[in-house]
Structures are given as C-alpha cells and as structure tokens.
C-alpha cells in the first residue's frame, strides 16, 4: 500500500476533474493562440482583409475576399448538389427500405464512402475527374484547365453526402409510427406522408445533418487543394481556378517567412475556427431546441 485509500480516492477525483478542466483549457488556449498570432494582421489589414481582392504576400497586401468567396462558393454549391442525393438516401434507408438486402448494401457503401480519406478522394479526382472535366471544357470551348472550382465542388459533394444522409436517415426513423399510420389511414399516398408528415417532423434533424456536412465542406483541405488550382484570385466562372481558406493555409504556411504573412495566414485560420465553432453551436442549439418538442 503505497498510498492510503483516502489519498487514492483524492488522486482519482482530481484526475477526473483535472482532465475535464484540461479539455476546456485546451480549447481556450487554442483560441487564444490563434488570436495572439493573428493580432498584428488584424491590426494592420483592418477591414481590407474582408473586402480586398488582392492577396499578394510579396507586396504585403492581404485581401482575403477571394478566399472567402472560394470557400463559400465551393461549400454552398457542393451542399446544393449533394442535397437531393443525401435526402434520397435518407428516405431510402429511413422510410422505403428499412431492412433487407438493398438497405444493407446502400448503408455499407455510404459508410465506406465516409471512411475514405480525403487525400485519396483528391488523388482520385485529380486523375479521373479532372480529365473528364477537361474533356467537357474542350466541348464547351473554354480553356481546358481541368482543375478548378467545378472539380472541387464535385469532389466535395461526393465527400459530404454520407454526413448529411446518415443523420437524416436516423431522424426519419425516429418519426413515430402512429402519426405515419394516421396519415395513411386518411388516404395519403406515401409521397404525401413524406412531404406533409415526415419532413416537418424531422426538419431539425435535416438541418443538423446539413450543418454537419457544411462544416465538413468548409474545412476540407486536401481534396480541395489538389483539384482547385490554388490561384488566389476571383474565379471568373465555374471552370476557372480558385482557392479556399483551408487550401491557402495548407499551401503557404510552411513557406511564409514574413511575420505579417504568417499572421495573415493565422487570421484566415482564426476565421475558419470561428465559423466552424459557430456551426457546431448552431447545430447543438437546433438539436436541443427542436428535440424537446418531439
């Protein structure tokens, strides 16, 4: 007996308390690190950071608007593109085929899709998707770059489908059977039951699923950086090259030497952190607020 029982109890309690405290401290330190490291950039870039369209480290001009636009554009478009697929999968798994071979096959393939690392998605897109897009661009008569916003949107859409679908399917399953049956007994068709009963009921879950997918799309780095072309300018069309916040950090942080350059990159990171934290909080709020009614 090295320590008495009482002191062992104390140590255990303290370890539990301390670890919970440590997690909170890590997050606060995380935020403070980003804040302090980007402070000089926030000071010197001012509002130009959000409105400037020129990102030129050599001239010391850091306007992040093209990045914000790039991130917003790729995430929003990929989300739009993935929505019909995610909703269909959710209905397929949660409503039409709850059990059986079909649903097992679809469910496992969705799980597989979610498990593939993003760098493999990027690699695949670079060698399969980009040549296809190049062919399309030749057909349409635009500059056949292949890489660009469209490639990023497509690969992101594929990547986020499982996230939105899995959560939505769970929510659809939670809709009580008796209100479904009540609607059927009134003579509603399956489509009407889904539209008038299940959708309104499961709305908060859908939103949570969409938010989850959005958070993933905003922060996705590797797959995007491999196919978007990494040109920090305003993309003129879907086929043009562009850049996103996460992809810019991945490309430039290791080479940045000028303190203001590093600070500006950190400011981009701070912005990403803030947005992702907001999305997490919003997701939590939605789930908490609407799940009470159910």
């Amino acid at each position: 007996m090295l320590w008495s029982l009482q002191s062992r109890e104390n140590i255990f309690q303290r370890a539990l308390y301390g670890s919970a405290f440590l997690v909170v401290a890590i997050l606060i330190l995380f935020f403070l690190t980003l804040l302090f490291k980007s402070f000089s950039a926030v000071w010197s870039n001012g509002w130009g950071f959000f409105t400037g369209v020129v990102w030129d480290p050599l001239a010391g001009v850091y306007g992040a608007f093209p990045l914000l636009l790039g991130t917003l554009l790729t995430s929003a478009l990929s989300l739009l593109l993935s929505l019909p697929f995610a909703l269909s999968i959710a209905l397929f798994l949660g409503e039409f085929f709850r059990k059986g071979l079909f649903s097992a096959a679809l469910r496992s393939s969705i799980e597989l899709l979610a498990g593939i690392p993003s760098v493999v998605y990027g690699f695949w897109a670079l060698f399969i998707l980009v040549p296809l897009i190049r062919r399309l661009e030749i057909l349409l008569g635009v500059v056949p770059l292949g890489v660009g916003v469209l490639a990023a949107v497509l690969v992101l859409a594929i990547m986020i489908i499982p996230y939105a679908a899995a959560l939505s399917a769970e929510v659809i399953k939670l809709v009580p059977q008796d209100i479904r049956e009540a609607a059927y007994s009134l003579g509603a068709t399956r489509y009407e039951v889904i539209r008038r009963v299940i959708m309104p009921y499961a709305r908060s879950g859908f939103f949570a699923g969409i938010l989850l997918a959005l958070g993933r799309a905003l922060g996705e780095t590797m797959a995007v950086t491999m196919v978007i072309g990494n040109a920090t300018k305003m993309p003129s069309s879907l086929f043009d090259t562009g850049n996103t916040m996460a992809s810019l950090i991945a490309n430039e942080l290791a080479e940045a030497t000028d303190p203001l350059y590093v600070a500006s990159l950190t400011q981009v990171g701070l912005l990403l952190f803030g947005v992702s934290a907001l999305i997490s909080l919003a997701g939590k709020y939605i789930v908490r607020k609407y799940s009470v009614e159910i």
């Binding site: 890590i26 695949w124 780095t221």
Partner: protein, 281 residues
C-alpha cells in the same frame, strides 16, 4: 375526381423512382473510386513495396516502408496522448452529468470536433514545432491525438451513461472504494463501446493529411525518433500524387490502396466488436 386520385398516385410513383434513382446514383462514385484503387493499387503491390524505402527517381522497385512505419509511429503517439485523457474526460462527463464544468467540457469537445483539421495543424505548429525548432513525429502525433480526443470522449461518455446505476451501487455497497468501482466495474462493463470508439477515432485520423503538413512534415528515410520529421501514408500519397512522375503515381496508387484497406479494416473491426462483444444488462 378519378383523375385527381390518379395524378396523386403517379406523383407517388415518380417520387419513389426519383429516390431510388438518386440513391443508386450516389453509389456510383464509390464503385469508381474502389474500382480504380483495386485496378491501379493492386498492380503496384509486391513484397518490395512494403519493405523498401523510396528509391531515387528513375530507379524502379521503390517501396513505402518508411511511410508505413511513420504512420504507425504517429498513430501510436496519438493513441498514447488521446486515449488516457479521453477516457478520463468521458468518465468525468458520465459521472458528473449536471455540473457546470461538465457543461463547459462537453461544449469544448463538441467545438473541438468541428474544427477543420488544417487549423489544428496550424495551432500545433505554433505549440510544438516553433518552440522545438523542428518538425517532429511528436507534433504530428499531438495533432492527430487532438482530433481523436472528441471521438473517444463521446464514445466513453455515451457508453458509460448506459450502464445501469445498480451495478455501481452494488459495488459500492460491497465496500469497494469509488475509484475501484469506476476502474474495475464500470469501465470494464463498457469496454466494448470504448474500444469501438478508439478504433473509430484511429480510423478517422489514419487518413488525415492536413494536420501533418506542418507537424510531422515528411521524410524520405526511416525515422523512429519522436523529435524528428517522419513520413506518413497520407502525406506520401499527397506528395507523390501531386508530383509529375509516372513511377511516383504508381506508388501513390499502391499506398492509397493500403491506406483505404487499413481504414476499412479498423471500421469493420469496430463494427464487429459492437455486434459480437457486448455486455448485456
């Protein structure tokens, strides 16, 4: 009247076909990705692929042994950092559900889970790489560990919450001290859920590249030193895939195949574990 009923039924049929169509179509990318991995990846594999270092450009027969070893080292470091802390936090959260600290800790874990991996790499870069003045396996492991943490905490909390309090009360009534009750009775009862969470967390970070870019960095040679840069599978894929050389692309396909197979193995074993080895109450 009759027409209205028909049109509603037709609408129903159209909707059902649309759902089936979109669902089936979404499997297509998976088939394409796995197909290419199988075709291009399998042909790159042979025993030299697993045991040799990358050869200089132009010489055939290079392997990815350093990346395999490096990935194991990084995952081991992440495991050692994240599992004890994650378990303790999970136990705290399931034992003190209502306390104020638990609320804050739960919120922190939730936010931590949503942080883009590249930002995690960035912060670990300024915590561990800048002060130590070197890219290192330790920094890479810490970045991956930070990404594992939320998954482990969630898994531990959710599992331990479900264990009936009668079990705990019985143990305490027998005079077993509190810490032993938690460590010897409650935690083992929830072990399958916790191990599943750890496997899923490992699967989540095994393929992460972004947090390793400025932490573990990459290294064309063997290294098992925690304080030195180290290669990893995902980083090797990224580096080789974006290079212009045919031979390196071949290696990258092989490495992708190995990586996806590894992640898949972790996911499947997590799933089997929950199904086969579950303590029933």
């Amino acid at each position: 009247m009759r027409g209205a009923v028909y049109s509603r039924q037709i609408m129903d049929k159209i909707f059902f076909s649309l759902v089936c169509f979109f669902s089936c179509l979404s499997v297509l990318p998976l088939i394409l990705i796995l197909g290419y991995l199988l075709v291009k990846g399998l042909s790159a594999l042979n025993w030299r692929f697993f045991v040799r270092l990358p050869q200089p450009l132009g010489e055939a027969g290079g392997g990815i042994a350093n990346a395999l070893g490096g990935s194991l080292l990084l995952l081991g470091t992440a495991f050692a950092l994240a599992v004890p802390l994650g378990l303790l936090v999970g136990i705290y959260l399931s034992e003190n559900r209502k306390s104020r600290l638990a609320g804050y800790a739960r919120l922190s874990v939730e936010i931590l889970q949503g942080i883009p991996s590249i930002v995690i790499g960035m912060v670990i870069y300024s915590w561990l790489v800048l002060p130590l003045k070197s890219f290192s396996a330790l920094a890479g492991g810490a970045a991956l560990g930070l990404m594992m943490l939320p998954v482990i905490v969630r898994a531990a909390e959710e599992t331990l919450k479900l264990i009936p309090s009668a079990l705990k009360e019985a143990s305490l009534a027998l005079g077993v001290p509190y810490y032993r009750t938690i460590l010897r009775v409650i935690t083992p009862a929830g072990l399958s859920g916790i191990v599943t969470g750890i496997l899923l967390a490992l699967a989540r970070v095994a393929g992460e590249t972004a947090p390793l870019l400025f932490t573990a960095f990459g290294n064309p040679f063997w290294s098992f030193h925690l304080g030195r840069p180290v290669e990893s599978l995902p980083h090797l894929i990224f580096y080789y895939a974006t290079s212009p050389y045919e031979e390196w692309h071949r290696l990258a396909w092989g490495a992708s195949f190995v990586l996806v197979a590894g992640v898949l193995f972790l996911n499947v074993s997590a799933k089997l574990l929950t199904r086969r080895w579950r303590v029933q109450f």
